[in-house]
Symmetry: C2
Subunit: 206 residues, 2 copies
DNA sequence: CGAATATGTGAGGAATTAATCACATTTTGC
DNA sequence: GCAAAATGTGATTAATTCCTCACATATTCG
């Protein structure tokens, strides 16, 4: 099944249409999930006719794929920016920055982020999701490299970064599930911090 | 929407029918996902007429709910059994046992496990899923309690167990995504082991 | 301007699917 | 053995949904 856009919007008017469609899809996706998603409802919510929708997206899956692409990029950008905004002097501060960046990067509706992860495989966008994860893992690797001396020497930084990225993503999902964004999972976050720092600084084991 | 079974099968023949329906649903769910699931196809795969299906399940969601209930219990049982089969003398061995139990408990098709997690919320079965997670976290807590002296004294064991359960589940999903069950994620598993042990044994931090 | 191109519209066709129900078959309990 | 209960059947229906297409409107550019 082809999920590529049918054609690019050239005029500003068309770009607005496409944008509205993607936003509307994201909203409906988070509210009711993929299987409840109807093209007619997307068009209605976007304030656009079904004909316009099908002019740019060949089918329902393409809508979801567009959402995954759009918000995936947005998510990674937000993470990178949030991480770059700080200049952590110690490893502990660096880990705090990572946790903070993860929480900040998440859309206010974590449901959207979850929906994307669930959707990507069904819509031929695993690759894209992996790219996002890899990009973030890369940022984490760079951050770890900066504090190489504080980290157990036998640890492979890329491996460690991959694991940390996975844990951050999971824990933040769980945390945001229970609490509003602002005070997201006080305890959970503290535990997470300890988990990561202990891992990075633990002496090598047989 | 009511997702409760319509009536209980009394005769053995009827139990076989229901069983076949649940199994068929699980297979189709892992292969094609919920939105592609059709009641007709479930009935066909189960070797049963649609009428029979609707005699026990009021709708499509009820089918998925039954699968979640069935395999959730099965998963927790498998974990408990696998963990109980070993008698870990040290904390490290205990952690190994947990990791092993998690991998063993997973159905051979991790896709089913994932599908269940994705489905539960859409089908009114979050509660059930949480129960499974809690039961496993409880087992982990018991295991940790046995090795209290090897663990940082300021750690709350229940909190730690919850975090460990979350990490185990996530990492095993990721690991099983890439490798067959037998040699599941060699490196990933080793990293995970180190992560958990470091966390548990790290001295308390300001 | 005015022709060519881009974009927008929404009724309706074609296909799919959830769910029912009237009836057939099997099992149970006496 | 037989009535009553339990179970099984599948054609059919009503509703939904994806997507097209013929046509209207808007924008661009020489």
């Amino acid at each position: 099944m082809d999920v590529n856009p049918r054609k690019f919007p050239r005029q500003a008017r068309a770009r607005a249409t496409v944008e509205a469609i993607v936003v509307a899809t994201a909203q409906l996706l988070t509210d009711h999930g993929f299987e409840a998603l109807t093209t007619a409802e997307v068009a209605e919510r976007a304030g656009v006719s079904i004909g316009s929708l099908y002019q740019y997206f060949p089918n329902k899956q393409a809508l979801a794929a567009a959402v995954v692409d759009h918000y995936g990029e947005q998510f990674a950008d937000a993470f990178v920016e949030a991480l770059g905004a700080r200049a952590p002097a110690t490893l502990a501060e660096s880990v705090d920055a990572m946790i903070h960046a993860t929480l900040v990067a998440h859309p206010h509706e974590p449901a959207l982020h979850r929906a994307m992860i669930e959707l990507a495989p069904r819509v031929g966008r695993v690759e894209r999701t992996r790219e996002v994860a890899n990009r973030i893992a890369g940022e984490i690797t760079a951050e770890l490299t900066r504090h190489r001396r504080e980290i157990a020497p036998d640890l492979d930084l890329a491996d460690a970064a991959a694991l940390i990225q996975l844990v951050l993503e999971t824990v933040s999902h769980r945390a945001l599930q229970h609490h509003p964004v602002s005070l997201a999972g006080e305890g959970m976050v503290r535990q997470c911090r300890r988990l990561i720092i202990a891992y990075l600084t633990s002496p090598s084991m047989g």
